[in-house]
């Protein structure tokens, strides 16, 4: 018996050392393993903190007015609530709804069109976009490396005085990787700690029947791109995934967003055209052509069905995540004024 236990112990130790999922990244046992390779960017608390301060710092933008947090607020699951499309420096208006940020270690493609193929590169896009921050990595690095606020953070994180582009991007990726939302009522029901009400359970069954082929558990997205028959906005003329692949079959395909924390992240869709979840469900009943078999059948959900589905969707809210102080504005790091 002792011998068997010893073998089991060795197998567990070897398995754990092989996968090297850092202790700072924890998630439920019914989730798959992250797709992000942590071996290439080993997680430390110091690097997460450096990434967090950078995330909240407007010096990333050309005129030092817009930070990442301007459009990704922790209180609403890191999206820009109540804005169809976000605004950047000089009051410029972008052409897409800022996506919520969480559970990013499980995603391979980022942005509504999947333009970014690795989380490490994600922050380059808003930094350089003229309607967002309008700056560039070189300028940001010059500012950060001169700023007293960062000296100790950089030394602690990387044992160096001057941050490189690689290090800055990896530190910001680490903060983004730390944003894990896994404590909704749905998760507690999965863990056997709570139970759905009768209405929520009915909504869950309807959801699985009508929505789950794209909004798949446990992330409530299949991380794929889909066309949901929204008419194109002639002012934005946004063709989605086609803009990147130039493949006609990708025209008007957008990333399937996670429905976790959906109660916080209105307005909805890539261009934020719907303010209410009821509007979204109505679109999936009246606005779809049923060209894609994954879309729900037209006009078959009753008003009661829609209310039950929304009751279930409320179970995907993670209040602990949106109230987590570890993700909020690091005020102590901003008390000291810049030189």
């Amino acid at each position: 018996m002792k011998k068997e236990l010893l073998w089991i112990f060795f197998v567990v130790v070897i398995s754990l050392s092989y996968f090297k999922i850092p202790a700072l990244i924890s998630y439920p046992n019914y989730w798959p393993k992250p797709v992000y390779n942590f071996n290439n960017n080993p997680i430390t608390a110091d690097k997460i903190l450096l990434g967090k301060v950078l995330f909240y710092d407007p010096i990333l933008s050309q005129d030092s007015t817009i930070s990442c947090a301007s459009c990704h607020s922790s209180y609403v699951a890191f999206t820009h609530v109540d804005h169809p499309t976000s605004h950047g420096i000089n009051d410029a208006i972008g052409n897409r709804n800022a996506p919520a940020l969480f559970n990013l270690a499980w995603q391979k493609k980022f942005m509504w069109d999947g333009a970014i193929s690795h989380l490490d590169f994600q922050v380059l896009a808003p930094i350089a976009n003229k309607t967002e921050m309008g700056s560039d990595l070189k300028t940001v690095l010059q500012r950060v490396n001169k700023n007293k606020r960062y000296h100790e953070l950089i030394v602690k994180a990387y044992k160096t005085e001057q941050l490189s582009g690689e290090q800055l991007l990896k530190a910001m990726a680490q903060f983004l990787l730390s944003l894990i939302s896994a404590d909704s009522k749905y998760d507690r029901v999965r863990a056997g700690k709570e139970q759905f009400t009768e209405q929520e359970a009915t909504g869950y069954a309807l959801f699985n029947e009508n929505c789950a082929s794209c909004h798949t558990e446990p992330f409530f997205t299949n991380h794929d791109f889909a066309k949901n028959d929204l008419p194109i906005d002639p002012n934005l003329n946004d063709l989605g995934r086609y803009e990147i692949t130039k493949n006609k079959k990708d025209s008007l395909h957008f990333k399937v967003p996670s429905l976790r924390n959906i109660a916080f992240t209105y307005p909805y869709m890539h261009d934020g055209r719907f303010k209410k979840l009821a509007d979204v469900l109505n679109h999936y009943q009246t606005g779809v052509s049923n060209g894609d078999a994954r879309l729900p059948a037209k006009n078959h959900l009753t008003s009661r069905d829609k209310i039950d589905i929304i009751a279930f969707l409320m179970c995907l809210s993670d209040n602990g995540f949106v109230q987590n102080k570890a993700f909020q504005f690091p005020i102590n790091n901003f008390k000291q004024q810049n030189p």
């Binding site: 390779n37 290439n40 960017n41 333009a115 970014i116 193929s117 690795h118 989380l119 490490d120 590169f121 380059l124 896009a125 930094i127 350089a128 976009n129 560039d136 990595l137 070189k138 690095l141 490189s164 582009g165 690689e166 991007l169 990896k170 990726a173 990147i244 130039k246 493949n247």
Partner: protein, 221 residues
């Protein structure tokens, strides 16, 4: 005993490392191009930079040495026109093969340091991917009209894969291989197409990258 030691000593030094420097010199009509100065009466080149990677030394078409590093050559900066390879002394090499650009597997790895650091300005921000080759300048038309051109050629997957592999003879002067990078085909392309700007992966970028094969010519010792 001493004989055996001598044999061992000689054997060891036959594998000792030597360095080969490869220098790239931009030319037009066989004359060296000086950046930011008018040449051929009407052209100014402001910038020319490109990635080289997956370098392989060949002998009789077989790979004898492979290097996994990538190098960013910036020909308008005299300190960034050469790359240095460590090589064994006794290796017979008759050709060199290299990738012009950075492959998609390297992008999928995540952010990297040194020449591959996005800080170098050779990584697109609006989509993930390296700019394999940049050429920027001006052409003076009709004696006074200046027309700027800018080519940022990238794309590492079909249907807009602009990666190119070039092979040329490995002919050294001492420890140096000097490669003439003749930009004639690129400037001829501008004249032929009237296309002065390529800034994203596209069919035009694929066509432009097809010219890379004609650019690299080693200068014979």
């Amino acid at each position: 005993m001493y004989f055996r030691l001598c044999v061992l000593f000689c054997w060891f030094f036959s594998f000792a490392r030597a360095q080969t420097t490869i220098e790239f010199i931009p030319t037009f009509q066989h004359k060296t191009v000086t950046f930011n100065q008018v040449f051929s009466d009407s052209i100014q080149l402001h910038a020319f930079s490109f990635y080289v990677g997956q370098i392989e030394l060949l002998h009789k078409d077989k790979v004898v040495k492979r290097y996994d590093t990538y190098h960013l050559l910036t020909l308008n900066d005299s300190s960034k026109t050469t790359i240095t390879l460590n090589q064994c002394n006794n290796q017979a090499v008759d050709a060199i093969r290299m990738l012009i650009g950075v492959d998609s597997a390297t992008v999928e790895h995540g952010v990297l340091a040194g020449d591959l650091d996005p800080m170098n300005g050779h990584f697109w921000t609006w989509q993930s991917g390296y700019i394999h080759l940049k050429m920027e300048g001006e052409i003076i038309r009709n004696q006074s009209e200046k027309k700027s051109f800018a080519y940022h050629i990238g794309g590492a997957t079909a249907p807009t894969n602009t990666l190119q592999t070039v092979t040329f003879p490995f002919v050294k002067r001492g420890n140096k291989l000097v490669v003439e990078l003749t930009i004639d085909p690129l400037l001829n392309w501008i004249a032929a197409t009237n296309d002065y700007e390529i800034m994203s992966p596209s069919p035009a970028a694929v066509a432009f990258s097809g010219l890379f094969q004609q650019l690299f010519k080693p200068i014979m010792p």
